[in-house]
């Protein structure tokens, strides 16, 4: 019962009064800053890191874990309430979460996200504690060819993000892929589509596109509905999920947690893809696929669970190898190093109290979060009652400061304004932005891994089918096209006929 010993070590560390306080403070600060529109989890964590510098290492790590979950959950709150994704994984939360908010069910959406995240967090922490080593070995099997094939699955799945025209949403994916290519080409060093601006060398930041396309155009779209718009909702029916809601979201949470926990271990791709995969799956298995895009609670619960499970298992490569899989993880790793903790293969054996203390405190962080946030839901929902003429300048201000703070560059603000025009155009032409965002994130990874795989194979295309994992993934992609896209193309036509 080695596991129980480890658990005991961890509990002893994490359950001291000080450390519980740090966990609480971290969750609270993370939520409060993360909920500000325009400040995604990455920015939130970066801004709050300095608060942990003065603490003892274990306390600092525990507070950090709290900040991490608080920031992620705060980001989901913004996605649901103001239709603004703060990171890739929230793009899908926006789709149905915001529709629920519009229908007066913001409370239920927020609760579904909180409960789903908590459950998924428990699953993820357990995976991390029990299977860190074998999962790491599995993640290593993913080379460039496998990543390319994984991206292919993600892109095929992206079509399911749209509730309107399939052809148009494929167009949006391609549009997004192209936008993602702006910047220095990794393989050749060529600055592509930068028009002489060095600010574009590292590509366009996610938050710049998201704020422009989602937040700015949403504000303009709301202003032009000349009605006296009180807020987002006219009547708030209930704060809590109904019994029916709970019945519908439970299986979604279970499925989302499993997908997320597995996909999350893949450095780089996992964290962004988990919620997309979960959304596609929910839509596929649902008996009411037509509700998706119009406020289906499964469309919030599944992806949010997947996202949080992935957020846990994404710690696996970071902790066991010291190799961060995402920008957020790199930041967490940097914070650990500042506290003189070098994550890596030996940390489990050389600092067991620290490793297991962190694992247990992750779980406590999740628990704190749900305890903290269920009561806060009432407050967030009240925010929606603030008159819109007061609310939108505030959203605009936070967005502007958030965009600027990414790299302290006013260029990013001008670019966000440009994306505001584009977003408004999309809004007018009924082009859905979610597939574009997925394409935007996957574009560079898709191209890079494709080219890298071919450099490694000396130009031999067969690598994609001779490597077993890659082959399986490609077969899944093909199967998705055959079984999902084709019928939905047919149904597309049917909907056109029947709906109007």
């Amino acid at each position: 019962m080695e596991f129980l010993d480890h658990l005991a070590i961890g509990l002893e560390t994490a359950l001291s009064l000080h450390n519980l306080l740090y966990a609480f403070a971290g969750c609270l600060l993370g939520t409060l800053i993360g909920v500000l529109p325009g400040l995604g989890p990455l920015a939130t964590i970066a801004m709050l890191l300095p608060f942990t510098y003065g603490l003892p290492p274990v306390g600092a790590l525990i507070m950090l874990a709290g900040i991490y979950y608080g920031a992620a959950y705060g980001g989901s709150t913004t996605a649901i309430l103001v239709n603004l994704p703060g990171e890739t994984s929230s793009v899908v939360t926006v789709i149905d979460g915001h529709q629920m908010a519009r229908k007066g069910k913001a409370g239920a959406a927020l609760a579904a996200a909180a409960i789903g995240s908590f459950f998924a967090g428990c699953v993820g922490v357990l995976m991390l504690a029990l299977f860190a080593a074998p999962l790491t070995r599995f993640a290593f099997k993913f080379g460039p060819a496998e990543y390319f094939s994984l991206m292919a699955v993600g892109l095929v799945g992206a079509v399911s993000l749209a509730s309107g025209s399939v052809v148009k949403s494929i167009g949006m994916i391609v549009f997004g892929l192209l936008l993602g290519l702006v910047g220095i080409d990794v393989a050749s060093g060529v600055t592509r589509f930068t028009f002489g601006f060095p600010e574009l060398w590292e590509g366009i930041d996610f938050i710049v596109v998201a704020v422009g396309i989602f937040a700015f155009s949403e504000i303009v779209g709301s202003l032009e509905q000349r009605e006296h718009r009180k807020a987002y909702t006219s009547e708030i029916t209930t704060l809590w999920p109904t019994r029916e809601d709970i019945r519908r979201m439970t299986p979604a949470i279970l499925r989302g947690s499993s997908i997320g926990a597995f996909v999350g271990i893949l450095p780089g791709a996992g964290l962004s893809l988990a919620s997309f995969f979960a959304y596609s799956l929910e839509r596929k298995v649902s008996r009411r696929p037509d509700e998706f895009g119009h406020g289906a609670i499964e469309g919030v619960a599944g992806p949010e669970s997947a996202n949080n499970a992935a957020a846990q298992t994404a710690f696996i490569p970071t902790l066991t190898l010291g190799i961060p899989g995402s920008a957020t993880m790199a930041l967490m790793l940097g914070a650990m190093i500042i506290h003189n903790i070098q994550p890596g293969p030996q940390v489990m054996t050389s600092n067991p109290d620290l490793f297991w203390g962190l694992i247990v405190s992750m779980w406590i962080g999740n628990l704190m979060l749900v305890i903290l946030n269920l009561p806060l839901i009432g407050i967030w929902v009240q925010l929606l009652k603030v008159p819109y003429r007061v609310l939108y300048p505030a959203i605009l201000m936070f967005c502007c400061i958030g965009v600027y703070s990414v790299s302290y560059s006013t260029f990013d603000l001008f670019m966000a304004a440009g994306f505001g025009v584009l977003g408004y155009l999309f809004h007018k032409l009924a082009c859905e932005p979610a597939p574009l965002m997925l394409g935007f994130v996957l574009g560079p990874m898709l191209e890079e891994n494709f080219r890298r795989a071919l450099v490694l194979s000396d130009g031999d295309f067969s690598v994609f089918v001779t490597r077993p994992i890659s082959l399986v993934l490609l077969l899944i992609a093909v199967a998705l096209v055959v079984f999902s896209v084709l019928p939905s193309l047919k149904k597309q036509r049917a909907v056109v006929f029947t709906e109007e």
């Binding site: 290593f140 060093g189 060095p198 190799i323 302290y408 890298r452 450099v455 490694l456």
Partner: protein, 318 residues
């Protein structure tokens, strides 16, 4: 809390009296531009130096992160700043490499006044399951048999130049595989997807110690205390095969010489301290105090060297 503040005030007073020089610089707060996002090595070293300089000067040294375009955005900002010593830049060896492969919005040779080097750390060549060799000789035997694939953390970065130096000195044929940063490159070496990576010591040490990767050689003049078993390229008879990752301070060109000399002197006080030695040793690095002239010479020589290597190896953004 209060005690701390009093102690800090005393420390200020003490140092301020000692630092009587030809100039009364600085009379107000100094900005140190870190041209990268918080958390990287430049940022960590920069904050360390800024903190110690402000203690010596009794004036705040404010770190300002200006990330973007490699380090081009922050560097360009300093190049255009008023040359009065109140805007400084920390940058690394890549500063002398970028110019060889990319058209930059400033001239690294003429827009800056080098102030002094802070510290340096060698690169270490690591291999994984794709190239199961254990020693320098085994590596060379294999490398002569087939063209190896080496990972880089981006075109024209220190890892690529490190490998190109080896390639040139040993007459090997190797092909680069570019990654976006060191982390994915390392992951693919450990996973056996790519043959080798000339990694920064900091990143590779934990993996080498855990046996996930094998260290083969280091790129410094002498063996590193962090990896005493690994030979240097030079001791194996590869002429001029030296690459160091270093960090240094720069001021805008035209900064008055007495101010530059003063900053250099105070920087060297910090660099020569035991505290700094310990700080850098954590990552396998060593302090590298220089005079203004020595550092300027290093920057000039390296810039020319990378240009030459880039041309020979045809490393260039197309």
């Amino acid at each position: 809390m209060r005690l701390l503040r009093i102690a800090a005030a005393l420390a200020f007073a003490g140092f301020a009296n000692l630092a009587v020089a030809a100039t009364d610089y600085p009379t107000k707060s100094v900005t140190l531009v870190v041209p990268f996002a918080p958390g990287g090595s430049n940022d960590i070293v920069g904050r360390y130096v800024a903190d110690r300089l402000s203690k010596i000067w009794g004036q705040p040294v404010v770190v300002e992160n200006m990330p973007g375009a490699g380090s081009a955005i922050g560097s360009a900002h300093v190049a255009k700043a008023k040359p009065d010593g109140y805007t400084l830049l920390i940058n690394s060896v890549t500063f002398t490499m970028n110019a060889a492969v990319q058209n930059l919005p400033f001239d690294p040779a003429n827009d800056f006044q080098p102030v002094g080097m802070i510290g340096k750390v060698p690169l270490v060549l690591v291999v994984g399951p794709a190239l199961p060799v254990k020693s320098y000789d085994e590596f060379m035997a294999e490398a002569k048999k087939r063209p190896l694939k080496y990972a880089t953390s981006g075109l024209g970065g220190v890892n690529q130049f490190g490998t190109e130096v080896l390639k040139k000195a040993a007459g090997l044929k190797m092909e680069p595989v570019h990654y976006k940063g060191g982390s994915p490159a390392m992951a693919d070496v450990i996973g056996g997807h790519v043959d080798l990576f000339f990694s920064s010591m900091t990143q590779a040490l934990p993996q080498i110690r855990a046996g996930l990767m094998t260290g083969i050689m280091v790129s410094s003049e002498e063996r590193s205390p962090a990896t005493p078993d690994l030979p240097t390229m030079v001791e194996k008879g590869l002429k001029d095969a030296v690459v160091n990752q270093w960090w240094g301070l720069f001021a805008p060109a035209g900064t008055p010489d007495e101010i530059v000399q003063k900053i250099n002197a105070d920087l060297n006080t910090i660099v020569n301290s035991d505290e700094t030695k310990e700080f850098l040793a954590k990552d396998g690095g060593t302090p590298a105090p220089t005079s203004v002239e020595q550092f300027a010479e290093t920057v000039k020589k390296e810039t020319a060297k990378w240009k030459e290597i880039a041309q020979e190896a045809n490393i260039k953004a197309e």
